[in-house]
């Protein structure tokens, strides 16, 4: 399985189709209450398609969120 075929911006993948996929994923994300914005989601999709370990990615996101929350709370 090559990285090329894994590209989300594959030329033979039309924009409409891409959007459709993203829509679906967005809905799932909403279902699962992940709190991801569409931009983040699309970035993550791309990362995943590149073969990044989702486990690690998830932990990173979680960590970053907690950091963000920590940053916000003293400020707020």
């Amino acid at each position: 399985m090559g990285a090329e075929s894994g590209q989300s911006k594959d030329p033979n993948l039309s924009l409409a189709e891409q959007r459709e996929v993203m829509d679906t994923l967005q809905q799932i994300s909403a279902l699962l209450n992940t709190g991801l914005t569409p931009e983040m989601l699309s970035t993550i999709v791309q990362l995943c398609e590149l073969g990044v370990n989702p486990e690690a990615l998830a932990s990173v996101i979680r960590e970053l969120r907690s950091v963000a929350a920590a940053l916000e709370s003293p400020g707020g």
Binding site: M1, G2, A3, S5, G6, S8, K9, D10, L13, E17, Q18, E20, V21, T24, L25, Q27, I28, S29, L31, L32, N33, T34, G35, L36, T37, E39, M40, T43, I44, V45, Q46, L47, C48, E49, L50, G51, V52, N53, P54, E55, A56, L57, A58, S59, V60, I61, R62, E63, L64, R65, S66, V67, A68, A69, L71, S73
Partner: protein
């Protein structure tokens, strides 16, 4: 999956992972300065690149399932459905290569949004709501866990609905599952844990997670054993004494043990716990490092696997066995049902254990521990043990015996066991009930495997259907059916078959159809009525009803179509000599034939005589159907027999009637007839004797020297007449009439054919006994025969005597007539020579004939008296009261008593006799 190395990834330009990651970090932290971000970005890159390969297998289906399960657990079934739709859509679009990764990522982040401080309240509420819903069964009251009694009732009521299986055990297990941990495994990311850590510790935490929380579990058994200090001390002591080579160090993770145990529960050898043939149990590898208490606990739990294997083997073996029968099949089906419930438990356990394995983040909190396992399997273990006991108890049994065996276990004191066993019994009894239903309503015996307690012998012909065809298989009578009931059931079906096959009656028997019965039948439609007999007697009622209907029908058919009572009367009238005029006439007609030798008798001649007798007497008014059955029969000849010995009347019976008048019965009838016929003949002879005496008495007055002889003969004849009259009276009134009256009453009161048959048998028995035809009275009968012979002898003698006397009389008279004639003619009435001759003859008569006759008579009367005395002595010693009374009657004026000392104190005599025996 991905082939790119991290370096390559970083090298690509705009949408290189690094750039993307940077974007992501920025987006997550909000719009901040690059400087702030860079630190986190560095961290992100480090984490991502260091954990490149996923720690768990990438299985898209699995992840999708987990998402669905998670949603379902939260009570969002519609969302779950929606998700599967989305997932399908995603699959069909097929553009994404790494669907699993995305899904997994989303799942990992699920609900993380809530943990942020925007909506803390909803998270708390949700968290609390979860435990109740995190079960596979719809609803289980929470207090089940706390109060064992309540849970028992819970499972009990559960069993009522569909099956009492292990499932109820599961429900009570899976109900409180989340209670001990406030969070079900994999449900939530615990907020406290995540938030509290600073970035530094995250790496180590991640590393820990990726290795798989096994190390942290190692402490668990440690703690567990420590908490039960006493126990472990004891075991340590034991361990040192028992097996020194056993490894009791704490090397092994509890998760591994639990996983193995779950396998063992299914009867499969695990990695560490294997079946040991030597010990016939599942044993843990002795080299594995596990503390003693844990090892013991594992062994204890592994018993469940052993029991399961046992039950399963039995079920498999028996379900292959074609000859095991329907009852057996339903037993295996019931066991299979229980096993299915057990599989459900296993599925739950496995899922739980899987989740432990899958757990992304959680550590010890969510793991399935040995102790949990032991708590959850406590109930199933108990049940399985009972099943195994049942299997053991029912090993070689089948049919009704199997049901009995199971029934014996329903008396168990434990309510849950009782519920389990009676549930199984209910299923097992079902085929029996089916058979019973067919049998008591249609008379059909559908019992290919000989399981029912009624057995039919197909080789038995119709004539013997009632007596021999159907029998009770005692070993197959289930213990919940009483023996009386079984007999009644046998009778019901037998009656139906009798009606159908022998009586050729195919009209329906009213029974099942009646309204009031149907109302009660709601219960009847179930095997419960077998089993609840103590509580209500529906079963008894149903049987009683069927019994009444069938028997009444049968009796009606017998009485109306087959005129049973008429036949009974005919038996009494002809075979038991009830019709006096007919018998007397028959005897008159037959007299001349029967004195001949038996060999020269011809049946057809006798039949003709019988016809004549019938036509000349009141018998002609009887039903022609009955008269047609009347016939003559000659008994077996033995040399020297006269016609009197072999002649007998016969009555032909066939069809249903012959069930009562069986061939054996008819032989008895013939014996009785023979006896009665003989006694009747004596009466007849004596009448003849008396008549002769009367006629000749006047004539023989002219021979004065005969008068003492005549007198003697007269007294002898009177003695005989007295004897025979008393005998006849006794036989006719005390034996025949009384017994017959009893029989008649009983037949009219009879509820079923068996009652009639038994009444008839009692009747015959009584007659036989009182007519001296049974074993005990054999000597009496011989004695009586001797007396009868004496009477016949006397008749012959008297006839002879009268003949000679009359000749003498005739001679004397003719001599006198000659004298008179000559006197009239004016000659001498007699000459000297003639006178001399006359005197000579006279003297000869006096000297020869009279003494010899006197002697004969004396001998005869002496013998008779001796015989009668002997007979009386025997009678007084007889066990039958009526026979002893007969003795009194025969010796009413105590003539014999005066002569025979033994008769003087019959009671004392009897006592002495008894002592002799």
């Amino acid at each position: 999956m991905a082939t790119k190395t991290p370096k390559e990834v970083r090298d690509t330009e705009n949408n290189s992972p690094a750039a993307l990651l940077h974007q992501l970090v920025k987006a997550t932290l909000g719009a901040k300065k690059d400087a702030d971000i860079s630190q986190h970005f560095q961290y992100a890159v480090r984490v991502v690149s260091s954990n490149f390969a996923p720690s768990i297998e990438s299985d898209e289906f699995h992840v999708a399932e987990r998402i669905k399960r998670k949603l379902a657990r939260e009570g969002r079934e519609s969302d779950a459905a929606y998700f599967s739709e989305l997932h399908r859509k995603l699959q069909s679009q097929g553009k994404l290569q790494n669907r699993w990764a995305i899904l997994y990522f989303l799942l990992s982040l699920a609900d993380s949004n809530k943990e942020t401080k925007q909506k803390p309240s909803s998270a708390v509420i949700f968290g609390r709501g979860l435990p109740n819903l995190a079960t596979s069964t719809p609803f289980v009251p929470r207090n089940l866990h706390q109060t064992p009694v309540a849970s028992e009732i819970g499972s009990y009521s559960h069993s009522g609905t569909q099956s009492s299986g292990i499932g109820s055990g599961i429900s009570s297990i899976s109900g409180p599952t989340p209670t001990p941990h406030s969070y079900a495994p994999g449900n939530l990311t615990t907020p406290g844990v995540t938030v509290a850590h600073d970035p530094q510790s995250v790496g180590s935490r991640l590393a820990q997670m990726l290795i798989g929380g096994s190390q942290s579990h190692v402490t668990n058994p440690n703690l567990a054993s420590a908490s039960r200090g006493q126990v472990s001390e004891v075991t340590k002591r034991n361990a040192s004494a028992l097996s020194p080579e056993e490894n009791t160090s704490f090397e092994l993770a509890e998760v591994a043990i639990v996983r193995d145990l779950v396998y063992v529960f299914q009867g499969i050898d695990g990695k560490l716990i294997k079946y040991s043939y030597n010990e016939d149990a599942y044993r843990m590898d002795s080299q594995v490092g596990v503390p003693r208490p844990v090892r013991d606990l594992v062994h204890k739990l592994a018993e469940l696997g052993w029991l399961f294997c046992k039950v399963k083997k039995y079920v498999e073996k028996k379900s292959q066995d074609k000859s095991f029968g329907l009852v057996g099949q339903s037993f295996t089906a019931a066991l299979q049902q229980e096993l299915t419930e057990y599989y459900r438990l296993l599925a739950v356990l496995e899922a739980q254990q899987q989740e432990t394995d899958d757990a992304i983040e959680e550590t010890s909190t969510s793991a399935l521990t040995l102790f949990q396992l032991s708590v959850w399997t406590f109930d199933p273990l108990h049940r399985m043990k009972q099943l195994a006991i049942l299997v053991d108890g029912c090993k070689d049994k089948k049919g009704g015996a199997l049901a009995s065996a199971i029934h014996s276990y329903t008396l168990h004191g434990d309510r849950s066991v009782r519920a389990l066993v009676s549930h199984i019994l209910k299923l097992v009894a079902f085929p029996l009930w089916k058979m019973l239903d067919k049998w008591i309503y249609d008379g059909l015996l559908e019992d290919k495997y000989h399981e029912f307690f009624v057995a039919a012998d197909p080789s038995v012909k119709e004539e013997k259907l009632w007596h021999e065809k159907y029998t009770l298989r005692k070993s197959m009578v289930p213990s919940f059916i009483k023996m009386d009931q079984a007999r009644q059931i046998l009778l019901i079906g037998k009656s139906i078959n009798f009606l159908r096959q022998v009586c050729k009656d195919h009209t329906p028997i009213i029974g099942k159809g009646t309204e009031e019965v149907i109302e009660k039948h709601s219960k009847y439609e179930n095997t419960e009525m077998f089993l609840d007999q103590d509580l209500d007697n529906t079963f008894q009622e149903v049987i009683d009803k069927a019994y009444q209907d069938t028997s009444r029908k049968l009796l009606d058919v017998l009485h109306q179509r087959f005129k049973f009572l008429d036949h009974l009367k005919a038996m009494r009238r002809y075979l038991l000599l009830g019709q006096g005029d007919f018998i007397k006439h028959l005897m008159d007609l037959l007299q001349s034939d029967l004195v001949k030798q038996a060999q020269v008798l011809y049946l057809h001649n006798l039949t003709g005589v019988l016809e004549t007798a019938i036509r000349a007497t009141n018998a002609q008014y009887d039903d022609s159907e009955i008269l047609d059955r009347l016939d003559v029969r000659l008994l077996e000849l033995s040399p020297g027999d006269t016609g009197w010995d072999v002649f007998s009347l016969d009555y032909h019976v066939d069809g249903p009637i012959s069930t009562v008048f069986t061939p054996q019965c008819k032989i008895l009838y013939l014996r009785v007839f023979n006896f009665l016929w003989r006694a009747k003949r004596m009466e007849y002879i004596l009448t003849q004797v008396w008549k002769d005496q009367m006629c000749n008495a006047r004539l023989l007055k002219d021979i004065p020297e005969l008068s003492p002889l005549l007198h003697h003969m007269h007294t002898l004849a009177s003695e005989m007449v007295h004897f025979i009259h008393q005998m006849q009276y006794y036989i006719n009134f005390e034996v025949m009439e009384c017994s017959y009256d009893e029989l008649w009453k009983r037949v009219n009161k009879a509820n079923d054919l068996d009652h009639i048959i038994s009444a008839h048998e009692v009747f015959l028995d009584t007659i036989l006994k009182r007519s001296l035809l049974d074993e005990e009275s054999q000597p009496l009968l011989t004695q009586l025969r001797v007396i009868f012979d004496l009477i016949v002898q006397f008749e012959g003698m008297q006839e002879e005597f009268f003949k000679t006397s009359l000749e003498e009389l005739e001679r004397r008279k003719s001599a006198e007539r000659a004298i008179e004639e000559r006197t009239e003619m004016g000659k001498w009435g007699t000459t000297e020579l003639e006178e001399k001759e006359k005197k000579r003859l006279h003297q000869e008569f006096q000297r020869n004939f009279i003494p010899s006759e006197r002697a004969k008579l004396r001998v005869l009367s002496q013998t008779l008296q001796d015989m009668v005395q002997k007979f009386l002595v025997m009678l007084t010693a007889h066990s039958d009261d009526s026979l002893r009374l007969l003795a009194v009657r025969l010796d009413f004026n105590e003539v014999y008593k005066a002569r025979e000392p033994k008769l003087r104190s019959p009671v004392a005599y009897m006592k002495r006799k008894k002592r002799e025996y």
